[in-house]
């Protein structure tokens, strides 16, 4: 067990609590940058996929894990982010401008939609946002002249400083682009958590009534959370569509939102690490399943196998490890640090009542 003898306020504000943490995360980033020299193009593509899922997951995590608002509509915002980026690139906007602009557009649209939607709570909010995701599918088809409808669109190359990066022929450069964006998004996320806004998010999540009594404008905070969440997810969606090479309304099916939500629950709700761990699971599960079915089933494809396995994993996590993979890791860490003094009930969740609604 490590004890931190704090001598300045900056220790609590800094990104890393001590040099050891800073070095280990520094090594992780260095390893991520060195990855293309170690693995081949196929696995580098998979790594890129993991990072793309992680970006989208961080977006939803901000809303669901940090602010406590469920959303099943994030596939719509991924679609918006993707179409906005590609349409802007086609209109001649450089990629480096189009991507953040698409994020901002998605964020603003998300915030506008949030104003009426966030009057709903819990399962009703989930249903309303699910309706949005289903609607988005039809809207993409209806806007065929711009979106290409069911025929979809071919993703253009990313052009950075006059260098065209094709998704197939420049996997290494592509990986680096996604990696840098992932790091920026993670930094933004982390900065938010150590600032008043992040604490306001947590306040709204844990008790709306006392957040209000402390001066937090609940409606405004939720709207900002939704907007930021959509902006990040929109950037993730842009990468997802362009990484697929071609995309249409089916790419951003409402099932994508459900997958995204499952991913952050399996990873660990409320933790940045959770988004990344969940992304690893969701990106590698299909590969793992095909390897398994190849060896056992002799290559017979079983329709719906992936969804079934993923659903099963989700149920097992909800039953046995609601804190997700990252929560399990924390428990293992505490067990090892305190050995042999760790108790089984140290992480027992206390009953908490939904007191917030009481005054309404």
């Amino acid at each position: 067990m490590r004890f931190h003898f704090k001598t300045s306020y900056d220790q609590d504000i800094n990104l890393f609590i001590d040099a050891r943490k800073a070095v280990s995360y520094g090594l992780l980033v260095a390893a991520a940058f060195a990855l293309p020299f170690v693995i081949d193009d196929f696995y580098l593509g998979e790594a890129t996929n993991v990072l793309i899922w992680a970006i989208a997951g961080l977006g939803l995590m901000l809303l669901t894990g940090q602010t406590g608002q469920a959303s099943l509509g994030h596939s719509a915002f991924m679609a918006l982010g993707c179409y906005a980026t590609v349409l802007m690139i086609e209109a001649g906007v450089p990629f480096l401008l189009a991507l953040p602009l698409a994020g901002i557009i998605t964020g603003v649209v998300g915030a506008l939609i949030a104003i009426p939607a966030l009057k709903l709570h819990g399962v009703y909010l989930a249903i309303a946002t699910l309706a949005l995701a289903i609607l988005a599918d039809d809207i993409i088809v209806l806007l065929g002249p711009w979106t290409g409808g069911v025929n979809g669109k071919i993703a253009p190359d990313i052009v950075i400083f006059g260098q065209a990066l094709n998704r197939w022929s420049n996997p290494v450069e592509w990986y680096y682009v996604v990696l840098v964006v992932t790091i920026i998004v993670t930094l933004f996320y982390r900065n938010l958590l150590r600032a008043p806004m992040g604490r306001a998010f947590a306040a709204v999540r844990d008790s709306e009534i006392s957040a209000q009594a402390m001066g937090v404008d609940v409606a405004r905070t939720k709207t900002i959370a939704f907007g930021l969440s959509c902006a990040i997810t929109g950037v993730g969606g842009a990468f997802m569509g362009m990484f697929a090479g071609a995309f249409n309304n089916e790419t951003f099916n409402f099932l994508l939102s459900i997958q995204l939500l499952m991913m952050i629950v399996v990873g660990g709700l409320g933790f940045i690490h959770g988004a990344f761990l969940g992304a690893v699971v969701i990106a590698f599960l299909p590969q793992l399943l095909s390897i398994v079915s190849d060896t056992i089933g002799g290559g017979v494809a079983i329709p719906g196998l992936e969804a079934a396995v993923f659903g099963g994993i989700l149920i097992l996590f909800l039953l046995f490890e609601p804190m997700g993979l990252y929560g399990r890791w924390l428990k293992i860490k505490v067990f090892l640090e305190l050995f042999p003094f760790a108790r089984k009930d140290m992480f027992k969740r206390q009953k908490s009542y939904l007191k917030t609604e009481r005054l309404r």
């Binding site: 600032a195 604490r199 844990d206 009534i209 402390m214 937090v216």
Partner: protein, 266 residues
Amino acid sequence: MSLLELQGVTLKFGGLTAVNNLTLKVEEGEVFALVGPNGAGKSTVFNLISRFYTPVSGTIRFDGKDLLKLASHEVPSLGIARTFQNIELFHQATVLQNLLVGRHRHRQASLIPQLLHLPSVRSEERAHRVAVEEVIDFLDLQPYRDKLIAGLPYGVRKVVELGRALASQPRLLLVDEPASGLSVEETQNMRWWLDDIRRQMGITVLMVEHDMGLVGKVSDRVMALADGAQLALGTPAEVQSHPKVIEAYLGTGAISKTANAAGERV
């Protein structure tokens, strides 16, 4: 002019009149206690001041400003902080983070600087932490600073909630049953803190409390409520011996029996 003035305030829930034409004046620098049997409307008065409820008639003024014109999240910016009867803390956050939320009304940085963690955000954060650390020192919360609320015992949570209200550096502190569920020793501590809050920090306190021992020791004036209306107003001793108060607690016919015991605990 009083610091807080409720003038002829009435609140109805359907057919039930929770607060009935209540007039209440709290002077700057005093500790004012509201007592009364369950359902008398004490916490409802708090929720009216916090603007969770809107009265059907009457006015509520703080330092001359009309509170009814504000939304509930705007009330703290005037310098009103409160605690809750059933403890409404942020359970999945640490004690430190809870107290820092108390600083919300003093925040300055807007969203973009916060995302980029500009130097101005950092220096603001430091200032918040200095203020919060003073509260932690004052309430002896050092051992719990980095602990999650979810794992803390009830007595400590009660203190953290008081701390969160103090962190906002209010002019008026509303405390809803500060001693409920506390041990004798913890109640004793609460008494010293309430005394110090008034004397050292110069904060006006309006509290709801059932423990007449605590009320008698810390408050300057007491108002007894029953069915949403004033029964008696005066010093703790006056209110405790008031015949109407005794009747409200013990029922009619109790007056003659308790006449001799008047002045002791009701």
